[in-house]
Amino acid sequence: MSTNAAIDLALDRVDWRDLAAQTEEQPRVYTPGEVLMPEAGFMRGHGTFVEDENIKSSVAGVIQKVNKLISVRPLKSRYVGEIGDVVVARVSEVQQKRWRVDTNSRLDSILLLSSVNLPGGELRRRSAEDEQMMRRYLDEGDLISAEVQNIFEEGSLSLYTRSLKYGKLSQGILVKVFPALVKRRKMHFHNLPCGASVILGNNGYIWISPTKGQEEEGGEGGFAQNLNEHVPRADREVIARLRNSILALAKCKLMIYDTSIQYAYEESLRYEAHELLQQNAIYDIGQQTQGRLRDADE
C-alpha cells in the first residue's frame, strides 16, 4: 500500500481569476459603500442604502435593475428563501410539534409536525402519541429534503415534506456550496446517467446518493433508512467522483445544474477520483466544462 500525499507551494497556486477572464462579458462587482447612482428617480432595493443623496451598495456583488428598483445581489451570502424552493436541510433540534432545521439561511427554519407525511395514511389528525414519537421520525442531525412552504415575517422559513419525493435522506454525501451557484430550475431531483442521484438544494446543500430502485422510492412516508445496506464499491466511486466534480465547479465559480454536473463528471473521467482534489485537476475540469457549456449555448 502506498501513501499519496502532496504539498504544493503557494508560489505555484493556481490563479482562479484566469478562469473568469476567459468569459467575454465580465460583470461589474460593486463593493460595500460604493456609490451606485444618485437617489433621484430611483428606488433602493436589497443590498443598498442611501447616504448623501446617493444609493450605495451595502454588500459586495453585482447590480440588478428592475425598472426603477436598484438592488445588489451579493456574491456570497446566506440562503434567502423563496416559496417553492427545494432545499436540503439538517434537523438541529426537536421541539414541541415542530423541528428546528438548518437550511444555511440567516435564521433556523421550521418544519411543523403537521407538514410531514406520517406513516400510515396521509390524512389523519396529529395525536399526542405522534408528538411523543417525533424523535423516532426525525432526530437531531438527520438530513431531509423539503420544500419551502411559507416565509415568516422575520425571514425564517417554514418547510414541508408532504409529498413522497421529499423526506428523510438515507446513505450518501452532503456537499455544501454557495447558494448563489445553484441554478434555479424546474427540476432539482436528478437521476444522472452516470448512476447516482443528486438533489440540488436551492440553499446550496447538494445531496448525492446511489440511485434507488423504483419500488423503494418514497415508501414508508419517507422515513425509511437503509442502514444495513452496503453501498457497492462501483457506486461509491461514482459518488466520490461526482462529489469532487461538484466541488470543482464550485471552486471555479461555475453554475451548478444537471448539464454542468454531467459535463464536469465526463471531464473528470481522465483523472482518478482522489486526484480531483488537486488544484490543477480542478482548474482543468473547470476550464473544460466552461468551454463545453459555452459551445452548448451557441
Binding site: A5, L227, H274, L277
Partner: protein
C-alpha cells in the same frame, strides 16, 4: 473539536467507505488531502509559515527572545508553544471556547518536542548557563477542516525551518560578565536544524480500520484516534511521543497497527516536507521578492 452534526445514515456511509478502502472523497485509508505551503509570509516574525490542508488553515509565527537558561539544563535553549483558536474558524471558539482544544494541541506539541533527541536544544544556547534563545511558536488556527494535529505540526516545522536567528557575538567584560552584540546586518543570521524536528500523525480508528488525515466528518465517526509523533534521525523514523484523543479505548493490536502506520506515514511526510521546503528556498532565495499570501 468543532462539532459537525451527521445523521446515522451518513455515518454508515462513511464507515462502509472506510471498510472498502475508498473514502468519501476517493482517497484510500493512507492518503492525505493536498496541502498548500508558504513560508516567510509574516514579515515581522523571525520565521513563519502558513499551511492549508483542504479546509484546515494554520498560520505559525516564530518570535525570538534572549532569556536565561533553566539552571537544570544550562546548555539548553527554550521553546514555548501557544495555540490560538480563532473564532473565524468556528463560532464555538469565541471567547474561551477554543481553549480546551488549544491546550490539547500545546500539550501534544510539548510532549513531542520534549526529548533533546527530537529537538536539539543546544543550538539555541548562546552562553551556557547565562544566555540562550527562547523561541515562541505562536500557532493560529484560521479554519478547521479536520486533522488539526498533523497540519499544526507540519506548519510548526516549516516555520522553524524558516526561522532566522540574528548572529550573536559575545565579548567578555570585567568580572566575568559577558555582553552580547547582535549583528546589524539583517541577512547575517543562523538557521535552526530541523532534521529531527518531530511531526504529528493522527491515526484515526473508524470501525475496525485505522486511517490517516481524517476529514471533519470522519472525525465525528471515529471513537478514538492516536496522535503519533515521529522524529527522523539518520534517515530512520523514531517515536517521540503518543497520546490518545477521543473517548474510546484501543486494543493492543490496533495500537501496534496505529504506531506502525503512524511511523511509516510520518517518515513519508517528513521527506516530502523537507523536499518542498528546500525547493521553495531555492526558488525564492534569501531575500523574498514577493509574498503570495491569502488572496489569489
Amino acid at each position: 473539536m468543532a462539532y459537525v452534526a451527521l445523521s446515522e445514515a451518513e455515518k454508515t456511509y462513511i464507515l462502509h467507505g472506510v471498510e472498502d478502502d475508498f473514502r468519501c472523497d476517493g482517497r484510500s485509508r493512507r492518503d492525505y488531502r493536498p496541502m498548500d505551503l508558504e513560508t516567510g509570509l509574516v514579515s515581522n516574525a523571525s520565521g513563519s509559515a502558513r499551511l492549508r490542508l483542504a479546509n484546515t488553515d494554520i498560520l505559525v509565527g516564530v518570535k525570538t527572545e534572549i532569556d536565561v537558561p533553566n539552571p537544570l539544563t544550562p546548555e539548553f535553549g527554550k521553546l514555548e508553544f501557544f495555540v490560538d483558536c480563532s473564532a473565524n474558524a468556528t463560532p464555538e471558539f469565541e471567547g474561551r471556547g477554543g481553549s480546551d482544544l488549544a491546550q490539547e494541541l500545546i500539550l501534544s506539541l510539548q510532549n513531542a518536542y520534549e526529548s533533546p533527541l527530537a529537538f536539539n536544544y543546544r543550538t539555541l544556547c548562546l552562553i551556557p548557563g547565562q544566555q540562550c534563545w527562547k523561541l515562541y511558536i505562536d500557532i493560529l488556527i484560521l479554519e478547521c477542516g479536520g486533522n488539526l494535529h498533523d497540519a499544526v505540526s507540519l506548519a510548526a516545522k516549516a516555520a522553524l525551518f524558516n526561522t532566522k536567528l540574528p548572529r550573536v557575538t559575545a565579548t567578555m567584560l570585567d568580572a566575568g560578565i559577558t555582553d552580547l552584540i547582535i549583528s546589524d546586518n539583517p541577512y547575517d543570521c543562523t538557521r535552526i536544524g530541523i532534521e529531527t524536528v518531530p511531526l504529528l500523525v493522527t491515526v484515526c480508528k473508524i470501525g475496525d480500520y485505522v486511517l490517516v488525515d481524517p476529514s471533519a466528518e470522519e472525525e465525528v465517526c471515529s471513537t478514538v484516534s492516536m496522535v503519533v509523533s515521529v522524529s527522523m534521525r539518520n534517515g530512520q523514523a523514531f517515536l517521540s511521543g503518543t497520546h490518545l484523543t477521543g473517548g474510546g479505548a484501543m486494543h493492543r493490536d490496533t495500537m501496534r497497527n496505529c504506531l506502525e502506520l503512524g511511523l511509516a506515514i510520518g517518515e513519508h511526510l517528513d521527506r516530502l516536507l523537507t523536499k518542498m521546503l528546500n525547493l521553495e528556498q531555492q526558488r525564492v532565495g534569501l531575500k523574498r521578492p514577493q509574498i503570495v499570501g491569502f488572496l489569489k
